[in-house]
Symmetry: C3
Subunit: 426 residues, 3 copies
């Protein structure tokens, strides 16, 4: 995953443009047969409109002595995203409103955007900014802001059920490693893992599109799919080490919320659970009042809560292979619990069945039971058609994996039957 990120790090990914196309093409090349959708500028998308496509040929700033002090070819953050084209000379005081810096981190270049207001801007380190002397500066913002397309990638991995798990990770943001090349890497490898499995209970839908306008566009163009989205996860900011943060869906107690809480409690006890708020990434759109998908969000340290956020310090040095691998495992664990969360029916519900005669219980009694015996007793007691494995794991405190494997044993012994919900999978 680090190699993949290293290769794509220099690319300037905004919400539209060649950088996005190049990124999606590279993801396809990694072996995932995603489909690239191109949506024309001007397409109405609920309250929004697909914007003009934006591309940068070059952008620079020359100081009064003619020295090139800022150059887009050095770093894609130097130009404010969606800067309109502009060329000319300016006095320092005229120039300053167009320059963006981070005074608190004088060596870092900030990330700034102006998607929907026609402006131009350059971003640079505050140290460089502070050294600027009065005089005439020459500016070149050689960008295209013209009818074109918004590009997003989509991958459907069919499962036994047509019910879907939606995974969204934003493809925009230029040279920022954690936000969100890391999310692209983790979800790409997750998709690869799913493709290599013989079968799945749920259909998975991965969408890699720009933030906000990308999820809105997918939603507007896929209304017939809405009823199929049963669970969802926005998976972003997954490469910088730090405790997992799971942000609940708008409803707060959806199955994905309880599943994520269980998976994190079992496998990442330092994880933080957060309530929904209508600020963040694309879960905002999925959780809007007209849509109300059960889409949670998994990050490590969230947006705005690590110092390097939205600056040139969010670079490849910030992310580690361990963090990426751990994030991939957590995504797969959460989906694994969803896949296995079936309701079972106890076929011998009057009292406990005699486990000993089936070889399921130790022959000599009098001592305390083993964890697997506890799991059998809990499964038999709670499998009244009203409790899924997740309910039983929450009530018993037993590991979900133990309950799932023990349930399989009890099915084989003829003591449990999987409920209707399970016809479709596993």
């Amino acid at each position: 995953m680090l190699d993949f990120m290293r290769e794509l790090y220099p690319v300037c990914r905004s919400i539209t443009g060649e950088g996005v196309r190049q990124t999606l093409a590279r993801m396809r090349a990694a072996g995932v047969p995603l489909q690239v959708h191109e949506v024309p500028t001007g397409t109405p998308v609920f309250d929004w409109t697909v914007p003009p496509e934006w591309n940068v040929r070059r952008a620079w700033l020359d100081d009064p002595s003619g020295r090139r002090i800022v150059d887009f070819s050095d770093h894609s953050l130097h130009v404010m995203s969606y800067s309109v084209p502009w060329q000319g000379e300016l006095d320092l005081e005229e120039l300053k409103p167009h320059l963006h810096t981070l005074p608190a981190h004088p060596d870092w270049i900030p990330y700034r955007t102006s998607y929907y207001t026609p402006k131009w801007g350059l971003c640079l380190s505050h140290r460089q900014y502070a050294a600027l002397r009065p005089g005439k500066y020459r500016v070149c913002i050689d960008t295209d802001l013209a009818p074109g397309h918004l590009s997003y990638g989509e991958l459907e991995i069919p499962g036994a059920s047509t019910d879907e798990i939606l995974v969204y990770s934003h493809v925009c943001h230029p040279s920022l490693a954690n936000d969100n090349l890391s999310g692209l890497a983790v979800t790409l490898w997750w998709a690869k893992a799913l493709l290599s499995q013989p079968q799945r209970r749920y259909t998975y839908r991965f969408v890699w599109g720009p933030g906000t306008i990308g999820s809105l566009t997918w939603l507007a163009l896929n209304r017939e799919r809405w009823p199929r989205i049963r669970h969802g996860l926005v998976a972003v900011l997954l490469g910088r080490p730090g405790a997992f943060h799971y942000k609940r869906t708008r409803s707060g107690d959806a199955e994905i919320d309880r599943v994520a809480a269980l998976a994190l409690r079992e496998h990442a006890p330092d994880a933080v659970l957060r309530d929904f708020e209508p600020y963040g990434y694309d879960e905002r759109q999925f959780g809007s009042p007209g849509i109300r998908f059960n889409v949670g969000r998994l990050t490590r340290v969230p947006n705005g809560e690590y110092p390097e956020y939205h600056s040139s310090a969010d670079n490849l040095d910030l992310v580690t292979a361990e963090a990426l691998t751990g994030s991939l495992e957590m995504c797969r664990t959460i989906a694994g619990v969803l896949e296995q969360n079936h309701v079972f029916h106890n076929l011998a519900p009057f009292g406990e069945p005699q486990l000993g005669k089936r070889g399921l219980y130790r022959a000599v009694g009098g001592d305390v039971p083993l964890e697997r015996e506890y799991a059998m007793l809990w499964l038999l007691n709670q499998s009244d058609g009203e409790h899924a494995l997740l309910d039983i794991a929450e009530r018993s405190g037993l590991p979900f994996g133990l309950l799932a494997s023990t349930a399989r044993e009890l099915v084989q012994a003829g003591l449990l039957r999987a409920g209707n919900d399970a016809k479709e999978g596993t």
Copy 2:
């Protein structure tokens, strides 16, 4: 308010009598057009009967030497409320059962009553009591206990809706400043403030009557009004400095309970919230099982929880202008939240609407949002017709006032529409 209290402090207010009439007349004179109701002795009031009217001409105690040691004209607490008339001579031992003191506070005169059992009594400081020497004492209890009327004041301030907010404050209790001249002052000034407003969502009904029998009488005579009482507040003991105590309604989660909790959390963080109990002031009657109004109670330190309670130490020195003003503000804040607690509908519910194109969001992105932007996002996300502003304030933790003003902006921008509940007001 302090001047008003100073003027009325010496008056002997029992549950009936001239003291109550005089107090209500003084309140009318303060510019509030309250109506005085006179209910005849003997009127049945549910399980009760309006008692005889009680008035005191004079009452005193002379010691064996002929010295007047207790005199009603010095302090209205000296005579037990509803003492029957009696004159005569008694030995000290015969006298003692009729004398009431507070041994723990030897300089204070207690407040005692015997409304429904014919007795007479005198209240005096324990220091005085301890100094009594054997001998013949002369007693004069020159009171009237005769058919008359129970008086209470009522003021209706019409609003856009016929739904009412009921405010009750007891007019009984003789020379006690906090309990409850303070409540009379605060609710009188509250009524004056409402009268000076151009309009209100709710109709307000202020009732100033004696404790227990007063609220019972109003309830018995106004059954046709019961369905209109949507919220209510018993507002008493509001002049002695100390943390606010809000006592919940019998149901415990009425709108007034949640509104009071929010207003106190925002404006008086040291406030204490208490569950309902069927002991206290007139909220007992409003919360009885056949009535079940949603009436909470606002006090500062409640009955029985400050040392001066029901004694001559509850005098004008105990109350402050700051406490009275703060109490008035809190009553108005609670009512203000009730008035503004509307449900809105998001008119662009699919995803977030594009705030930038309406000038509602900053043009340059990449930084964390402002509190007002958060308020917009929360309002849009939660305005699905199921959540009122109070729900949104509770969930978001944002100030109610900010949400209310931002909701008005969003209505003006055509993004929110007020729900039916709001037709009637604001």
Copy 3:
């Protein structure tokens, strides 16, 4: 109770056999007219079958020198319950798999069973075991494992209602004092106390049968009674001093759960409340998904949580008269709350009724009310037909006994009427 236990302590009680019969006969002799049921070997009981009856004539182990080192006549724990008959000579290494010890407690004999797998075994102290030298050992397990009967005792004590309180205490386990001779003693004395009362609201059903197979057998043979079981308690392990532990029913919020919580909070504040888990004693069967009786469990320190559990150290020295008496009182207190937990209707529900004129309230007011007056106010306020005494005790924090006696006073005063549920009792 201690004498009763002393007499029965040496008896070998397994899940069937003469020891059980002898124990039940002794209980009858104590003045409780229980009925002994004999269920033939082979009777199908849900997923189980009534096992062969097991009796021990003699069992011993002679060491290579011919010395008798283990003898059933010394202690009934020496032979593993349900050991098949076997006689013969064995080398030490062949013998060892048949010997059971407790290495952590080298002086104690463990309690071991093999009810449903044909094995034989001897239990001895680890100290004795460690001293065994190589050589030929002679074994005699002279047991009968043959068609016979499973015996259990049953006692119905009729009440005003046909709704039943089921009490179960296991009669199996050989010479173990706390587990469960103590439960037999406490429930026997409880039954005696009930029989001496003139009347009861509920019908009580005591069942004394072996663990697991006994409750299953009763359930299988009494399906027509199932709908009558309204509350139930497994009452076991009640003689060893230690805090009470109440284990909730499967539902977790049954009336018996709330009653037990209240009774323990009021009378045994160090008690521990535990959630249901499908491991323990016969509450497992009553709480299985096809049965779902509201049966909780009262013990002192539960199974597996005291060191002497299931060993020869669970002997008469472990139990005390105080613990037994306290347990009996707690059982009776819990049942007493169930008996008195009626719903009342306030007959003067508009406001508070005038208590003073009925002599129910002190004549002189102005001071804080007494606890009995609080109880009246709470009863009147909450007796709207929706709240039983238990609800009122929980909400008010007042003692249940005070509320129950005050409710009787208010019924006599014509202010409360007992609801329909109460027709049947008290």
